[in-house]
């Protein structure tokens, strides 16, 4: 079982307590009505789906119930780091390959 560090509980917890909540850092337009169809499609449907490092939202569903962000490697399924929701995308990733 994977252990995922919850930034609110400040410790590693078993993965069964967590839920994935899709890609992180997708900003919603402030003026949705003025968004063109193409831009809306990009915002609403298009996700990066990389092979490698991905920034995701996770929720500690059966714990503190808070959403937070995690950096995960989709190849090894390893969590590089987690950080609180609202914090900027981390510039340096600890333990990142290469």
């Amino acid at each position: 079982m994977l252990l995922i560090r919850c930034p609110y509980c400040e410790e590693e917890r078993p993965e069964l307590e967590f839920r994935n909540a899709g890609e992180a850092h997708i900003a919603r337009s402030a003026d949705m009505a003025a968004t063109s169809d193409d831009d809306f499609e990009k915002f609403f449907f298009i996700r990066s789906n990389p092979k490698g490092i991905i920034y995701e939202r996770w929720r500690h569903m059966h714990g503190c119930a808070r959403f937070f962000n995690a950096v995960r490697d989709t190849v090894s399924d390893r969590f590089l780091m987690t950080y609180k929701a609202g914090e900027p995308k981390p510039a340096n990733l600890p333990g990142a390959a290469k």
Partner: protein
Amino acid sequence: MAKAAAKKSAAAAPSVERRPALAGQELSATGVALAVLPPAERISLRAPYASVAALSKALGVTLPRKPKTSAAKAGRTALWLGPDEWLVIDEVGRDPLADCFEMTVLHSAVGISHRNVAISVTGPAAAATINSGCPQDLSLDAFPVGAASRTILGKVEIVLLRTATDAFRVECWRSFSDYVFTFLSEAAGDAAA
């Protein structure tokens, strides 16, 4: 028709009759004993950091601010569930909801006394029994006496509180209580073996 009429008169009664789930059920196996605890008063409390001090004063128990901790005073226990969320349990019949009623600081207190059923798991094999369905580390280093956490047991969500080195309080929703008690009963047999 008669059933509907009976229902109506029950609703007209001054106070709602309490029908606890699984009342009084017990089970003991080698090294572990299970018991459904008597009804208690409970609230689910949500409040920002700024309101915590005032609410602690009103409730008479200091709301813990550290993850996975709880605080108890005079039969009332406050469990940290999230950064702005607590479960307050009162076992001596003073409704914590009434204490929050007059508070003007920003908060949300919801009475959930009847929503939850508490089961005590005691004995040297208590941790092993719970661990059969709960993935958390329940060693005394990681989960000391007084530690509390929302977690899972089998397929359902529970709130787990360690009341002594070999005693736990498992809080679950009443509709899940039969599942939880049966699960723990099976696990108690396995833990004893």
